[in-house]
């Protein structure tokens, strides 16, 4: 009997020891991160901090310098992680719909009740707050100051299109853009962005808005289907790309002029007759060697070096193409690494917010396809390199 009890005690000790060891390893982040895949992410302007919201509602703050991370909440809105420009302050919303702006040290800067957001942005002075709901309506402000900016139908929507209405605000708070699903060619003058009587929105495609008046400035059309777009930090450039592989750029000083970007086999020449051989529609003069891997079907675009360089991320690909504003030609292709598989795999259009950059510091952060880890890259504008500097599985 005594021997049996001793055995039991040894077994219990072993099990408890194993549990304690796992607890220690988890607490010291030695087993990787224990979270669902990243759904939304923001990078601080300094490039040191990254905030991410995960499919299992975790909110994690990552410190690139210390190579550490902290779970701040287990009840975060999936699409609420966002870094405030020019500050070590990030924005998030909990599942009780409280939006919080807090510093990386935990200091509270702002807090308010809001509807469940499907993406939001805020200016560095906290004066401009824009948020989208599941029907791709856009609102300015919160509480008593909340006003509709775009509310003209329920289709397309997050559910119907399978992606967010992406929002982006420039650093000077001059313009913001919305980008969702482009299949509309109507003019601004023909349809108000506020119209409760219609079912189908006229503002699903890329639209440039005045950040002060909250009025549409231009419909930046040409893309088709699920479209992502962003605006440069200085507010001068809007770049877009879509799930059909088309990509365009506009200078906000002349938004009527659309500039088509080259695909990876040539720049499509518009306005030619219909009956030419297929190859004659393409200018190949500025092409560079194409490795096997980049895909034109684009899941996201993001500025990586101030307002000068931006990246285009192909769907089902671990390559990104580097472009320079003002030029239609790809400058370089970057292999982001095959493993762990990035969020760019699996047509994750509803998770293109799991790709975030700090154009000021050249930091790119990406979620992984099916686990909660992240990959972080550093861009060198002189050498034109993009090096993976941190991977958490």
């Amino acid at each position: 009997m005594a021997i049996t009890n001793a055995k039991k005690i040894r077994w219990a000790g072993t099990v408890l020891g194993a549990i304690a060891l796992i607890g220690i390893l988890l607490n010291s982040n030695l087993l990787g991160v224990w979270a669902g895949p990243v759904m939304s992410m923001g990078v601080s302007q300094s490039g040191r901090y990254i905030v991410s919201a995960h499919r299992d509602n975790k909110l994690i703050l990552w410190d690139l310098q210390e190579k550490q991370w902290d779970k701040l909440s287990g009840e975060a809105n999936l699409y609420s992680a966002y870094f405030v420009p020019d500050q070590n302050v990030f924005l998030w919303q909990d599942t009780d719909n409280t939006v919080t702006a807090q510093t990386v040290d935990g200091e509270l800067r702002k807090q308010f009740q809001h509807f469940p957001t499907y993406g939001h942005v805020i200016s560095s002075d906290f004066e401009t707050y824009l948020s989208s709901d599941e029907y791709w309506n856009v609102f300015s402000g919160y509480g008593d100051t909340k006003r509709p900016v775009l509310k003209d139908g329920v289709v397309p929507s997050f559910i119907g299109a399978g992606k967010l209405l992406n929002l982006a605000l420039d650093r000077n708070n001059t313009f913001f853009i919305t980008a969702g699903f482009d299949d509309d060619r109507s003019k601004i003058a023909d349809h108000s962005p506020l119209n409760n009587r219609q079912r189908f929105s006229k503002y699903g495609g890329v639209t440039l808005w005045d950040a002060e008046t909250k009025q549409p400035v231009a419909k930046l059309r040409g893309n088709s289907s699920k479209t992502h777009a962003t605006i440069s930090p200085d507010g001068q450039w809007v770049v877009s790309a879509d799930e059909n592989g088309k990509s365009f750029a506009w200078n906000t000083s002349n938004p009527e002029k659309r500039m088509r970007n080259a695909g990876y086999s040539g720049l499509f020449i518009e306005g030619l007759p219909d009956d030419l051989p297929a190859s004659e529609y393409y200018d190949k003069s500025g092409l560079i060697d194409l490795p096997k891997g980049p895909h034109r079907f684009t899941i996201a675009v993001a500025f990586i070096h101030n307002s000068e360089y931006y990246l285009r991320f192909g769907n089902n690909s671990h390559f990104a193409a580097l472009f320079k504003t003002g030029s239609p030609w790809p400058v370089k292709y970057f292999d982001l690494g095959e493993s762990p598989k990035l969020v760019t795999y699996g047509s994750n259009y509803a998770r293109n917010t799991a790709i975030a950059t700090s154009p000021e510091s050249g930091i790119l952060a990406m979620g992984h396809q099916s686990t909660g880890g992240i990959s972080v890259y550093q861009f060198d504008p002189d050498e034109l390199t993009l090096e993976r500097v941190w991977v958490v599985k």
Binding site: G162, D184, G263, S265, S347
Partner: protein, 310 residues
């Protein structure tokens, strides 16, 4: 378009189409279907709704599988069967998923399903052209395997005569129905059906040139014992245009890429809701709202009139 044909339909929506992903090319040489049924170069403004989750059109992606399922799948054949059974038991449309595990019923369209049958097109062709048999020397080889390298002169003459007669009759049928088909289309009437050219009945009309090409393909197939030489292309309704417009792919198609850049074709990945092929026929409310309403009706309303115009 390059084909020079007038555009018959103003705006076409293809939901999970069970056709090859390169079906819209103008290069018939890219058609891997042994009888030339794989490409439709006269199509025009088209929106393709495709889904990686359509088990009829192809195998599903396993990225969303649980980690334990992935681990099991890699461990043993028994585990593979167990995991497959688990997935089927938990699927909303088990039939689709069964077919998905075996690469989809779509392959049947290409006469390669089930893959363990080795007689390819033989039974179907021999039924269709039963009045022209034999068209190969295979019967002789089977009866006298020891004489496999020897073919009697009489049989050679018979086979050649059968081919000559079949070719003549096929071309005659094409000639006879070419103009009536065109007249019917002009008058908005249903065109007559082909008999010897029945495999091409999906075309509104078969030109004499297409008929000649068909005979050539048929002869090539006969030489290969009715077994297609090339693997089927993936279904357009499964993968969209991704591979054929990927510049680095050996299957890159400049023409289809051009259609995309000219806004004549679009694709919309709807894997999130079109996870069952049967969902097209009897759409759930979810499919109706998210696919039909959001991806089809919206385009029609946004783009104004035109839909349904011929």
């Amino acid at each position: 378009m390059n084909s020079g044909k007038s555009n018959l339909v103003d705006h076409l929506f293809l939901r999970q189409p069970a056709v090859a992903d390169n079906a819209l090319t103008n290069e018939t040489s890219r058609d891997v279907h042994p009888l030339g049924l794989g490409v439709f170069p006269s199509a025009r403004k088209i929106v393709v709704l495709h889904s990686r989750g359509d088990g009829i059109l192809g195998a599903g992606e396993d990225e969303e599988s649980a980690w334990w399922q992935k681990a099991l799948l890699r461990s043993s054949p028994a585990a593979l069967i167990a995991t497959t059974a688990w997935n089927l038991a938990n699927s909303e449309d088990a039939k689709d998923d069964v077919l998905g595990y075996f690469r989809g019923a779509y392959d049947k369209k290409w006469w390669t399903f089930p893959s363990f049958l080795v007689n390819g097109f033989g039974p179907a062709i021999e039924e269709l052209y039963k009045d022209y048999l034999p068209l190969t020397f295979k019967a002789q080889m089977t009866t006298y395997p020891q004489l496999s390298s020897y073919v009697p002169e009489a049989l050679k003459r018979t086979v050649k005569a059968n081919w000559d007669r079949l070719e003549q009759d096929i071309l005659a049928e094409a000639d006879a129905l070419w103009q009536p088909c065109i007249d019917c289309l002009r008058n908005g009437e249903r065109p007559p059906e082909y008999t010897l050219l029945a495999p091409l009945n999906h075309r509104a009309s078969v030109s004499p040139q297409v008929a000649k090409d068909y005979v050539l393909r048929l002869k090539k197939l006969a030489v290969n014992d009715w077994v297609p030489e090339r693997s089927p292309r993936p279904a357009l309704g499964h993968v969209g245009f991704e591979e054929v417009t990927d510049n680095a792919s050996p299957d890159f198609d400049q023409f289809i890429s051009g259609l995309r850049d000219k806004n004549e074709i679009d694709q919309v990945n709807q894997s999130a809701w079109l996870f069952s092929h049967s969902g097209m026929r009897i759409p759930s409310e979810e499919v109706f709202n998210r696919s039909y309403d959001a991806a089809i009706m919206r385009r029609i309303v946004s783009e104004g009139g035109g839909f349904g115009h011929y």
